[in-house]
């Protein structure tokens, strides 16, 4: 999802940069105010941890592999402000040291993956956790669904930026990005939930966001962040949310591009072209396809939570796991 240089025009790059810089500044102020000094090294190490975890590949069907993005994982483990800082640091290092993601697109990339992804994920997680109570099954369900939502939200924002720049048409960008990332989001949900379940089972005290009162998000910081995300999405995505241009449709049909459009995603989407075949391709069927995808993710998250929640009789394993990890650390 890293946008390279040359894909965004000046207005999109500047808008992304301004919103990202403001969001990062708010997060820095929030961390400086609330995080005690002894956790400052942890934020740096968490950034290195997210980077290292992104390098671990998971096999997906057909020889392809995916990896963790880690925004929701960071938000759940460290709290939202620290997660914004951690994900921004990861993106800045990837951009400066590894040329992964463009310099001029850094603002847009930070907005997608360091503001939208952790904050949408955190808000979903908190709302679901309040709704389902404080049990471990509810927490795992909230984790899984939040990871899926954050991945898809970041992808839609990225599609909006590409479309606003005139690089990729919205009618191609949205199905390609959202469709593929609805699948990637399932993988992200699975990994994030497995990791959170393991951490909770072996070292529950490490979930900083739930332990340190200072690390709980402060209303003001969260409010400004929420406003920034809403503003950014309004700038990047809202222009396309209604009024579908159908000039391209005609060109695509006459030039025979339609097959290529459907074949372009690396993974075949379950609802090809983000539209249900019988209904034709219009806003209504796009909405239905999106709703169906969301429903599937919801059910998957619920099943995952039931499978991974600790049984009442499994208490001994937690103690053993904790001892083993403590003695191995040197």
């Amino acid at each position: 999802m890293h946008i390279p240089d040359g894909f965004l025009d000046a207005k999109t790059a500047v808008a992304g940069g301004v919103i990202a810089a403001t969001g990062l500044g708010v997060a820095l102020a929030g961390v400086r105010r609330t995080v005690p000094p002894r956790h400052i090294p942890l934020i740096g190490l968490a950034a290195a941890f997210v980077f290292a975890a992104q390098m671990l590949n998971f096999p997906v069907a057909g020889g392809t592999s995916g990896h963790l993005i880690g925004a929701v994982l960071a938000a759940i483990l460290l709290g939202p402000s620290a997660a914004v800082l951690v994900m921004s640091a990861v993106l800045i290092l990837q951009c400066l040291m590894f040329a992964d993601g463009g310099v001029t697109a850094l603002g847009a990339n930070v907005f997608d993956m360091a503001l939208v992804a952790p904050l949408v994920g955190w808000l979903t997680y908190e709302m679901l956790r309040r709704a389902t109570g404080d049990g471990s099954r509810g927490r795992l369900f909230a984790t899984a669904f939040a990871a899926w939502c954050s991945t898809v939200a970041a992808a839609i924002s990225c599609a909006g930026q590409l479309a606003l720049s005139g690089t990729v048409d919205w009618r191609v960008a949205l199905p390609a990005m959202a469709g593929v990332h609805m699948l990637i989001g399932l993988g992200e949900a699975l990994i994030t939930t497995l990791v959170v379940a393991t951490v909770v089972r072996s070292r529950p005290e490490l979930l900083l966001a739930h332990r340190e009162p200072g690390l709980r998000p402060q209303g003001g910081t969260l409010l400004v962040h929420g406003l920034l995300v809403a503003l950014g999405l309004a700038v990047f995505v809202a222009p396309f949310a209604c009024g579908w241009p159908d000039g391209l449709e005609k060109v695509a049909v006459t030039l025979g591009f339609e097959q290529r459009a459907a074949a372009s995603p690396v993974l075949g989407a379950p609802l090809p072209d983000y539209a249900i075949p019988g209904l034709g391709s219009g806003p209504a069927s796009t909405a239905i396809a999106g709703a169906a995808g969301t429903l599937v993710a919801f059910v998957v998250a619920w099943v995952l939570a039931i499978l991974l929640a600790p049984r009442p009789g499994a208490g001994g394993r937690a103690v053993k796991g904790g001892d083993a990890s403590a003695s191995r650390a040197s």
Binding site: H2, I3, P4, D5, G6, F7, L8, A10, L24, L28, R32, P37, R38, H39, I40, P41, L42, I43, G44, L45, A46, A47, A48, F49, F51, A53, M55, F58, P59, L85, S88, A89, I92, L93, L96, M97, F98, A99, D100, G102, V103, T104, G166, T167, V168, V172, A173, A176, L190, I191, L194, V195, T198, V199, S202, R203, L206, L248, A252, S325
Partner: protein, 204 residues
């Protein structure tokens, strides 16, 4: 693959390596911004920029093979996004222009990373008044990135040495466990690092 990815800096004693880091950063930034802001069809300017980059690359005496390998590592991402731009009216021209632009910018950033230590770039950020907390986070991240990647590789090797089945389900489960324990070890390491920092007189 990890070695090529994690070692961008190529040690040489060339004139390019000895330039001040601030100058190189400013030059790379100016180059990237001007390439991005050029109109789509300015092919002579692209050719001139490419020639300038090749001249700098030759001056820096960085092995062409390493530069090429790093470019090839990051190019697929650009190519993937660029392919989407084919699917619109006049797509081929947009495709060629964006791909050329992004390749030039990638080349400039790969050259910058190959001739400048990251600690020098951090010093430039510091003197450019980037917030101290962000620079500290970046410095800690860069310092411990290699430690954590090695630690993860060790855990994976240990896991491979102990599991005989290679089912996809068990692979996902054990890889997620590796990530979880990497986090546990990182937070324990962070506590030791904080004590060490305090012992050496660190103040916030």
């Amino acid at each position: 693959m990890h070695r090529a990815l994690l070692e961008p800096y190529q040690h040489r004693s060339s004139p390019v390596h000895q330039l001040p880091a601030a100058l190189k950063c400013a030059g790379a930034l100016a180059f990237v911004f001007s390439v991005v802001l050029l109109p789509r069809a300015s092919w002579p300017a692209y050719a001139a920029g490419g020639a300038a980059l090749l001249a700098v690359a030759a001056l820096s005496r960085v092995p062409a093979r390493r530069l090429g390998a790093r470019l090839l590592l990051v190019e697929p991402f650009a190519l993937g996004v660029a392919l989407l731009s084919l699917l619109q009216p006049d797509g081929a021209r947009v495709f060629a222009a964006t791909l050329t632009k992004s390749t030039l910018c990638l080349f400039a950033m790969v050259l910058l990373a190959a001739t400048t230590r990251f600690s020098d770039i951090l010093r430039v950020l510091w003197s450019a008044r980037v917030p101290a907390l962000l620079v500290t986070t970046l410095a800690l991240m860069h310092r411990y990135l290699f430690v954590l990647v090695d630690e993860m590789a060790r855990m994976q090797r240990a896991r491979r040495g102990r599991t005989f089945t290679r089912g996809r389900v068990s692979l996902w489960h054990s890889s997620a466990t590796v990530i979880a324990h990497l986090f546990v070890r990182s937070s324990e390491r962070a506590e030791r690092i904080y004590s060490a920092m305090c012992a050496r007189g660190w103040r916030t």
